[in-house]
């Protein structure tokens, strides 16, 4: 949309004013995410820029909050960096334990959600599927129902079957929350999927399994992976279910941040936030690349 040559002065002013407004909105979107990065290098325990930081005094910047991520909870953080120090770090440092939990729970939940979700998406994309609309809306509902309700319901149910305060309980809950994303992304890749390819494979003598692994899977793989990433992020970012279902043993990174923000807010949170921002940049890049690859594979021209 460029400015037409017949535009009057009012229209011209509006054209530039509009761009400025959009620029401001985009700044509103991105600034809070960028701002945490420099703040996390603050040498003082403040949540704002110190005069030293503003005059780029190297003294005002430090890595102490990143160090704090490691030291927090360790038995002997000042011991020499020997094997004992590393086991101490691995087993006792709060954030490291939270990170291990987050990845363990996230990856397990993602595997369950991706396998079951992909199979279901394959079924749902078939024309013969009975009650398709109803079943789709049931399977998508974990995304729509507020997490607080999900967590409340799960709290009672999982406690009654002995799954409260266990890894399995949190994993199953997170898998349920991640499933809608897998269904949506895989279904999206399957629209425009040429069903005659399956018939061609069958015609050429491939059985169901071969057809799936050699024909269907390579084509829907980008959708599967981005669905899996969505499911992983859902679990990686989830607090409410963890608050209700998990014990101190299963604390994840967001859970640790939650108590950090509520109890004693220190710039350590900002250091963790910076690391999470870097992770999300990585995830965003991967998903974007996958989407383009999928479009190329399916011959859809990028819009």
């Amino acid at each position: 949309m460029s400015l037409p040559s017949y535009a009057g002065p009012l229209e011209k002013t509006w054209y530039y004013a509009f761009r400025v407004i959009c620029g401001l909105i985009l700044i509103f979107l991105i600034v809070p995410i960028i701002i945490v990065v420099p703040l996390s290098f603050n040498a003082e325990p403040y949540f704002t820029f110190t005069p030293g930081m503003l005059s780029f005094d190297p003294e005002a910047y430090s890595l102490r909050w990143y160090e704090d991520i490691l030291r927090n909870g360790m038995a002997a953080p000042d011991a020499p960096h020997s094997w004992a120090w590393f086991t101490d770090l691995w087993n006792n440092a709060q954030w490291i334990r939270a990170m291990r939990n987050s990845f363990f729970i996230g990856i397990s939940a993602t595997i369950i959600a991706t396998i079951l979700g992909t199979l279901a998406a394959l079924g749902l994309s078939r024309r013969e599927m009975p009650y398709r609309a109803l079943i789709t809306s049931i399977l998508i509902s974990p995304m729509i129902v507020p997490v607080i309700i999900t967590a409340t319901g799960m709290f009672f149910f999982y406690a009654s079957v002995g799954l409260a305060s266990t890894y399995l309980g949190v994993i199953l809950a997170h898998a349920a929350l991640g499933i809608p994303f897998v269904i949506i992304t895989v279904t999206a890749t399957l629209t425009g999927f040429d069903q005659s390819l399956i018939r061609a494979a069958n015609n050429l003598g491939a059985d169901q399994t071969t057809t799936f692994f050699k024909v269907i899977m390579p084509l829907i793989l980008p959708g599967m992976i981005s669905g899996a990433l969505f499911a992983f992020v859902t679990s990686f970012d989830e607090v409410v279910v963890v608050l209700f279902l998990a014990d101190i043993e299963q604390r994840t990174i967001p859970r640790q941040m939650w108590s950090g923000i509520r109890e004693q807010i220190s710039p350590t949170i900002l250091a963790v936030a910076t690391i999470l921002v870097i992770i999300s940049i990585g995830l965003l890049t991967t998903v974007e690349l996958l989407r383009r690859r999928s479009e190329r594979l399916r011959g859809v021209t990028p819009s």
């Binding site: 949309m1 509009f18 979107l29 991105i30 199979l119 279901a120 998508i140 507020p146 965003l284």
Partner: protein, 429 residues
């Protein structure tokens, strides 16, 4: 062999007139087709079945159970079964007779032994404030009670001589009760069973419900107001530029909720960056720093930021499909820029507006984390009260009833969304 029946020229062909088409093995084709269809349906169902089962067990059943809890509360009848039985005979006109008191005294002894009296005391205390201690002390003294129990109990505590308390107990003895839903709309049943408003100072839930809807509405409005121009710009720029700008929308979308909430705390708090900048620019005085967080303003700003991508993305995907020639045609037919935009462009974006508005509203109504962290007192939503009852007051049935109301609201919106937009048309990223 397959034969063709020829209805057009009856009698001419030598073949049997009404013989059906058959497959190679002799079964009629119609049957064969039905078989194949059935098999295809079964295969599709089998693919979906494991996930459906998984979601039913881990998600639907727990929520169903929670909803049952919101109107089924059997504590009283389980802990005090004999009293429950005896109270059935009581007409409620005057104090219950000796039989009820005797049953109650017996039950108290059991409850003391099983240490379950606390549950009943809490249960009755919801409806009859201050009765908690009467129950616990009566249980403690229960071994000393002797017939006539009526006198013994009333001697222990005057409150057992109150007809109102017994009326409340009779109601609590019924396992199925609308009490929690009534409480969730600030109503209660008085001692005679009429539905009345609760006392003024205890009327909170209707206010919270309305506030939740109001805040969700404000946030949705802001998201539409801010999202529409950005989506319009992104859709009208060349792909290369818009892809670059899209990163600015998608990065927040992928960033952890807690990171964004933390960032807003850093920005908005009274010693935070925005206030510092305003003070440095002499716009405000150092001791009149703006209170932008731990109140409704904080909730609105942070939630608008968090939900904005959810309104931009559906709008963008709709605007992308609108040919720019329509606007130009309108202009060349003499429309002013505003008329062309309002009469030609906006109506075509209505599906995107509907999707964005409903999605943001659905997400906003049930939000918990952000209001809990930056909402302070008056920025709390209904979800925060569910959490409060779950974790602090332990009035789980109340939490379940509030959850039931929230769920009903969401379901109506979800149904609308399905009707207008279609859940299978939802795209991510």
């Amino acid at each position: 062999m397959a034969t063709v029946s020829d209805h057009m020229t009856p009698g001419i062909g030598q073949v049997a007139v009404d013989a059906p088409l058959t497959a190679a093995d002799g079964t009629p084709l119609r049957k064969k087709l039905a078989q194949a269809n059935r098999r295809a349906r079964l295969r599709a169902t089998l693919l979906v079945a494991p996930l459906l089962l998984f979601v039913l067990i881990t998600f639907i059943v727990p929520i169903g159970q929670m909803l049952v809890r919101s109107f089924h509360e059997p504590t009283f009848s389980e802990v005090l079964p004999r009293t429950t039985e005896a109270l059935k005979q009581w007409d409620g006109a005057d104090l219950p007779d000796e039989a009820v008191f005797a049953a109650f005294a017996d039950d108290l002894k059991d409850a003391k032994e099983n240490r379950t009296i606390g549950q009943v005391a809490t249960r009755v205390n919801y409806a009859y404030a201050g009765s908690r201690s009467a129950f616990t002390s009566a249980a403690r003294k229960s071994t000393g009670f002797e017939a006539p129990y009526k006198e013994a109990l009333i001697a222990a505590d005057d409150v057992w001589g109150e007809r109102d308390l017994w009326a409340v107990m009779k109601r609590a003895s019924k396992s199925y009760t609308p009490e929690f839903y009534l409480a969730a709309v600030d109503r209660t049943t008085d001692v005679d069973g009429n539905i009345v408003m609760v006392d003024d100072f205890r009327q909170i839930y209707v206010k919270i419900l309305l506030r939740t809807l109001y805040l969700a509405g404000v946030i949705t409005g802001l998201c539409l107001l801010l999202g529409y121009p950005v989506a319009f710009l992104l859709a009208s720029l060349p792909t290369r530029t818009s892809n670059l700008l899209m990163i600015l929308v998608l990065l927040p979308f992928w960033t952890s909720l807690l990171v964004r909430t933390t960032a807003w705390i850093a920005l908005l708090q009274s010693q935070g960056i925005i206030n510092d900048v305003l003070v440095a620019m002499w716009l405000i005085d150092d001791d009149s720093r703006l209170q932008m967080i731990y109140n409704q303003t904080g909730t609105i700003i942070a939630m608008t930021h968090i939900l904005l991508p959810f309104s931009i993305l559906p709008l963008f995907s709709v605007m992308k499909t609108i040919p720019p020639t329509y606007m130009r045609a309108a202009r060349s037919l003499g429309a002013t820029p505003w008329t062309a935009f309002w009469k030609i462009y906006v109506p075509q974006t209505v599906p995107g507006i509907a999707a964005g508005v409903l999605l943001v509203f659905i997400l906003a109504v049930g939000y918990y984390i952000t209001p809990a962290l930056v909402g302070g007192q008056d920025g709390q939503l209904i979800s925060n009260f569910i959490a409060l009852h779950m974790q602090k007051t332990l009035n789980w049935s109340m939490a379940a009833a509030l959850g039931g109301i929230l769920l009903a609201t969401i379901m109506v919106l979800y149904w609308l969304f399905n009707k207008i937009v279609g859940i299978d048309r939802l795209k991510l990223g």
